[in-house]
């Protein structure tokens, strides 16, 4: 009988017996499975070539590039304003922070300083975007845990409200292009502020609701506590940043250690995890949402009327040179490196994609755990293939 499982093509178990004492204890062959690029929970078109001993993962080979669009090269043929639309499509669930990091780099290059009001608007928008991105991450992580879309739908309900706010700001919901070099596209409309206040009032209750729904759930805790532990040393050596690094217990937040825009004028805490396991990576995002709300509240209090765009030529020609700007994106340190040769388009455009760099630890985190854990760990890293593949 042929079962078409292709077992003969699988690598022999002897190799893994040598590599991993304790593996292949039964007389069987390791099985190699392609998880992705078409798989319900690889968060896009990510592909993993996984070798299993039964359910236990012996080896993982991440393969990506399925969503490569050449964004970095494309940027070299566009004006500094046009590049903003490209940044929307990098991490497409957090366009606002991509815009922000890019315009900060371009402003550094051109020597522009945006007006106060624009900076406040940017921070408000970026923090809302962080909440939206964390909502997506939390919802999909719980979906990966098998919670049949209910928490995901709850998270999407609030994300919708944030997208509505974005629509008021700039008319778009996903690919926002709200920020401009030297300010923002336009001032917030009158009805934006009451809508934002209403959101700020309601949101803490909704976060409580997510916590009540599943955070203490025994199944969730049993499945995530102590699983795929990322130690601080390992995280630092692998340049892991963002919620993932903070979940490992290292309080590194660029909004605090290297404040940009108006982050030095607001007070907030940096939530830190203890164990660096999947549970901490899940929980820290809920905590960060609360801090983001605090930041937005303070910005709403502090913001003063004024212009929202600095005087700048319509076609920007920054002097020759280079600039690197980094922000604390929802997924980690998001950095843009721009080189100018004095023309209307950047000579080089380089992106430091946080989820790409965070993804590099995946193999070490999941080997020895089980298939189900790998899916959850991948979800807890919170990757976005638009950003990983560019």
């Amino acid at each position: 009988m042929t079962t078409g499982l292709g077992l003969s093509a699988a690598p022999p178990g002897e190799r893994y017996k040598r590599l991993l004492p304790g593996a292949m204890s039964m007389r069987s062959e390791p099985v190699t499975v392609n998880v992705g690029p078409q798989h319900p929970s690889t968060h896009g078109v990510f592909r993993l070539r996984v070798t299993f001993d039964g359910e236990i993962i012996l080896d993982v080979e991440p393969i990506f590039g399925y969503l490569h669009r050449g964004s970095e090269k494309l940027a070299e043929e566009r004006t500094y304003t046009q590049v903003i639309t490209l940044t929307d499509r990098l991490d497409y669930v957090a366009s606002m922070t991509n815009n922000q990091a890019y315009v900060l780099a371009a402003e550094k290059l051109a020597g522009l300083r945006p007006p106060e009001r624009a900076m406040y608007l940017r921070v408000i928008a970026a923090e809302l975007q962080r909440i939206a991105s964390h909502l997506m991450a939390t919802g999909f992580l719980l979906n990966d845990l098998g919670a049949f879309a209910t928490p995901l739908m709850y998270c999407f309900r609030e994300r919708e409200k944030i997208l509505d706010l974005f629509e008021m700001l700039c008319g778009a919901r996903i690919t926002l292009s709200y920020m401009r070099v030297g300010g923002v596209f336009q001032d917030a409309p009158e009805d934006f502020w009451p809508a934002l206040r209403k959101f700020l009032k309601e949101m803490p209750g909704y976060i409580d609701e997510y916590e009540a729904l599943l955070v203490e759930n025994e199944i969730l805790v049993t499945r995530t506590r102590g699983v795929s532990v990322l130690t601080v040393d390992h995280a630092l050596n692998a340049s892991v940043t963002g919620p993932m690094l903070r979940a490992s217990g290292f309080p590194w937040d660029l909004r605090v250690v290297d404040p940009y825009e108006v982050y030095d004028r607001v007070r907030f805490d940096v939530p830190v995890g203890k164990a660096g396991d999947n549970y901490d990576r899940f929980k820290i995002r809920l905590d960060e949402m609360r801090q983001s709300l605090r930041i937005v509240e303070q910005c709403v209090e502090q913001i003063e009327p004024g212009p929202v765009r600095a005087e700048s030529p319509a076609l920007l020609r920054p002097p020759a040179g280079d600039a690197y700007a980094r922000i604390e994106g929802p997924k980690g340190e998001l950095g843009f490196y721009l080189v100018s040769d004095g023309s209307i388009a950047p000579y080089r455009f380089k992106l430091r994609a946080p989820s790409f760099i965070n993804l590099t630890v995946l193999r070490d985190l999941v080997i020895g755990w089980k298939l189900a854990d790998m899916i959850v760990t991948l979800g807890s890293i919170d990757i976005n293939m638009g950003e990983v593949d560019r």
């Binding site: 499982l5 593996a23 990966d144 189900a372 899916i375």
Partner: protein, 421 residues
């Protein structure tokens, strides 16, 4: 041959119309006294076998089709309810309130191409969905849907039920292995592990019911429930419901077809109506299992005021609602934790339940004939003890038993760990 007529109002009418005669006058002719002339059926004497065959076929046909209609309505109900749980609306476009959605789904599945993959074992691949559906339908043969409404009241009903539902594991394994897909194989292998493991605590949990009722016949079990066995067997009920959700691969034990892990598990490669069969089997399993739970633990069809069939349906849909609720709330248990839960948690509890129940019957029951009977006070005392034992043992076990399993130790040489410079 006449024994089956005694309590069975579903089949009696037709059978008597066909084959009433002197031999079965007691069952077929109301008010018949010895010596009176009996009703005369259509068929001459000696043709009872034909009457029996016709009656049984008609009854089976009726029950099966009514059940399928019910299952269709149930899929609609489940999708609407899950929509409500997930703060969305659910299907509402096809027909009034979306009621025709199951019909549309059925038409879609019937008209779709049923693909057999190249690497598949054709025989097993085609046989698996049939085996799945047939075994699920066979449960209906012994289930009493109302007072005197059942197809067969066999004296080993409970045993038959357990035996028939076990075949389900084989069907799932067949589908998983024959598909020639590695995700399907994962599902199939998980199925063997999980379904067989959960059989054991499930069977142990019904032993308590068996001890109390003193019969394996489901009709006798319902009749034996002066108070619902839920009160006398809370631990058994708990184990049975948990085991049943694992047997039906419902969340939180849906590891067989865990979408986020192994795509669709054992039915990854199935399409068209073959997929439809699996889908049908899984959804209607909720109804049959709810029916079994209602029969064993919730007094079956019995209830005040309303007709017995309505009571039975109410109980079935009440239980189905709980299953839907659980499905839309809980995350999935990992496969090794699922197994550990069955063997470390449910199995000892099942044994404890048998022991406690047997001891109570010995102490509280007064011997009468072959069995033992209980006074009303004895029953309530038993309920009190059992509820206490249930809460206590579940609390103690959840402290004692850890479901966490460590990872395989991985030597540093196998990792790509970046070293500090």
């Amino acid at each position: 041959m006449n024994a089956f007529l005694a309590g069975n109002s579903l089949m009696r009418g037709l059978y008597c119309w066909l084959a009433a005669n002197q031999g079965n006058a007691q069952e077929c002719s109301p008010g018949w006294q010895p010596g009176m002339a009996a009703r005369d059926g259509l068929l001459p004497a000696g043709w009872e076998w034909l009457a029996f065959a016709v009656t049984a076929s008609v009854a089976a046909f009726l029950v099966l089709n009514l059940f399928l209609l019910l299952a269709m309505f149930y899929t609609y109900l489940e999708r609407r309810l899950i929509g409500r749980f997930q703060v969305r609306i659910g299907p509402n476009r096809t027909g009034p309130w979306g009621l025709l959605q199951p019909v549309a789904d059925a038409i879609k599945l019937l008209t779709k191409e049923s693909i057999i993959p190249d690497g598949a074992d054709r025989w097993l691949f085609n046989l698996a969905p049939i085996a799945m559906v047939v075994t699920m339908f066979m449960v209906l043969a012994v289930l009493p849907f109302g007072e005197g409404t059942f197809i067969a009241d066999i004296n080993v009903g409970l045993l038959f039920l357990i035996a028939v539902t076990s075949v389900n594991a084989l069907a799932v394994f067949m589908a998983g292995v024959a598909s020639g897909n590695r995700y399907a194989m994962f599902g199939g292998v998980r199925a063997v592990a999980q379904l067989i493991s959960y059989e054991v605590p499930m069977v142990l949990s019904v032993v308590g019911v068996l001890l109390l009722a003193g019969s394996l016949s489901l009709v006798d079990i319902v009749n034996a429930q002066r108070v619902p066995f839920l009160l006398l067997q809370p631990l058994g009920f708990f184990i049975f419901v948990v085991g049943a959700s694992a047997e039906m691969n419902r969340p939180p034990f849906d590891t067989l077809e865990a979408e986020s892990e192994i795509v669709a598990g054992y039915h990854t490669e199935y399409s068209g109506m073959k997929f439809g069969y699996f889908w049908l089997a899984e959804y209607s399993a909720v109804l049959t299992t709810s029916g079994v739970i209602a029969t064993l633990f919730l007094n079956g069809w019995q209830g005040p005021l309303l007709p017995s069939h309505v009571w039975f349906l109410l109980k079935v849909f009440g239980l189905a609602f709980v299953f839907i609720w659980v499905r839309s709330t809980l995350p999935r248990v990992r496969i090794d934790q699922t197994m550990a839960f069955a063997w470390k948690f449910l199995l000892p509890l099942g044994l404890l339940n048998i022991f406690v129940t047997a001891a109570e019957i010995l102490v509280l029951g007064q011997p009468q004939g072959e069995g033992r009977v209980f006074s009303t006070g004895g029953l309530w005392l038993m309920a009190g003890i059992n509820v206490t034992v249930t809460i206590g043992s579940v609390a103690v076990f959840s402290r004692l038993v850890s479901l966490r399993t460590p990872a395989l130790p991985v030597p540093a040489a196998h990792l790509s760990r970046v070293e500090a410079r």
